[in-house]
């Protein structure tokens, strides 16, 4: 059963990934991205990470992809991109070579290292996955125990990101005025 679920979601994930890379229209790419993200959420459920599966669908497939679609619509770049012409000579073959090399290196690591990794360490106490606790309970204990400082830094990071996004996209009336004044001066000169 688990094998069948894994096989189906692997096909869905890889098809979505290829769709993101190959689709000419950014909106289609975003929708293919949703396909991949939902497939990954299924794999999370298969690994008993139910909370992460829910977060994956809500935050990734929900919030982040909607943000992408908002920006696509806001900028009006939803016209199809011409994929046949190659702007930089040899970019595609080089990218294919680099991608194949990346896959080869990582695949070698996985094939040679998988036996080393399995059964290497069995966590005990709060971190063990085979206890009675639900996965949310386990994650909560570890997040607010062992990783409490990292959670605090994450909060600071999110605050900085929000402030940064506002500063980057803000169009203040004062700077607009000086810009037009500068343009007028440039026009006079």
């Amino acid at each position: 059963m688990a094998e069948a679920v894994f096989a189906v979601s692997a096909v869905i994930i890889l098809a979505g990934a290829i769709g993101v890379v190959a689709s000419r229209n950014p909106v289609h790419a975003a929708l293919f991205l949703v396909q991949t993200l939902v497939g990954v959420a299924v794999l999370f459920v298969l690994n008993d990470a139910h909370f992460l599966a829910a977060v994956q669908v809500v935050v990734y497939a929900g919030a982040i992809v909607i943000l992408f679609l908002f920006v696509i619509m806001l900028l009006g770049v939803d016209k199809a991109e011409e994929l046949r012409i190659e702007p930089i000579f040899g970019q595609r073959p080089l990218a294919a070579v680099v991608g194949a090399a990346l896959a080869a290196v990582l695949g070698t690591v996985v094939i040679t290292g998988a036996d080393v990794l399995t059964g290497l360490r069995r966590a005990g106490g709060d971190r063990a996955l085979d206890g009675d606790a639900t996965d949310i309970e386990r994650m909560g204990r570890v997040l607010f125990g062992e990783f409490a400082f990292a959670v605090e830094i994450t909060a600071a990071l999110l605050t900085v990101a929000v402030v940064g996004a506002v500063v980057l996209t803000r169009r203040s009336s004062r700077s607009d005025g000086s810009e037009t004044a500068g343009a007028a001066r440039a026009g006079d000169a």
Binding site: I13, V20, A30, L33, A49, L102, V110, V142, G164, T169
Partner: protein, 104 residues
């Protein structure tokens, strides 16, 4: 544990394939938005590996790592899309090749 018969290696192989596809997309595409989506693909590949290895090692640490990756990915998207909007306000329809002001 319903992992019976399905070893961690399969998850890692899928993760490698997804990471490579995302990397190729990042190198090939020129639309900055699609490049961001390819970065998301690569982050998800890492998340699959984290969760599978965490399940294989009977450790919730993998899931905790995925949690932090999710937060950082959300932050990265917010800042990246703000940059794309700011660049497009100055010159509309800009691709990644057009933003070469810092090129030496």
């Amino acid at each position: 544990m319903d992992l019976a018969g399905l070893s961690t290696g399969w998850y890692l192989a899928l993760s490698v394939a997804l990471f490579a596809i995302g990397g190729v997309g990042l190198l090939v595409r020129r639309n900055p938005l699609v490049m961001f989506m390819c970065v998301e693909l690569m982050l998800n590949a890492v998340n699959v590996a984290f969760v599978a290895l965490g399940a294989g090692l009977n450790d919730v640490g993998g899931q905790v790592a995925v949690f932090f990756v999710l937060v950082v990915a959300a932050t990265e998207v917010v800042i990246g899309l703000a940059l794309v909007v700011a660049i497009n306000r100055r010159r509309s329809g800009a691709t990644a090749d057009d933003v070469s002001l810092l090129k030496g």
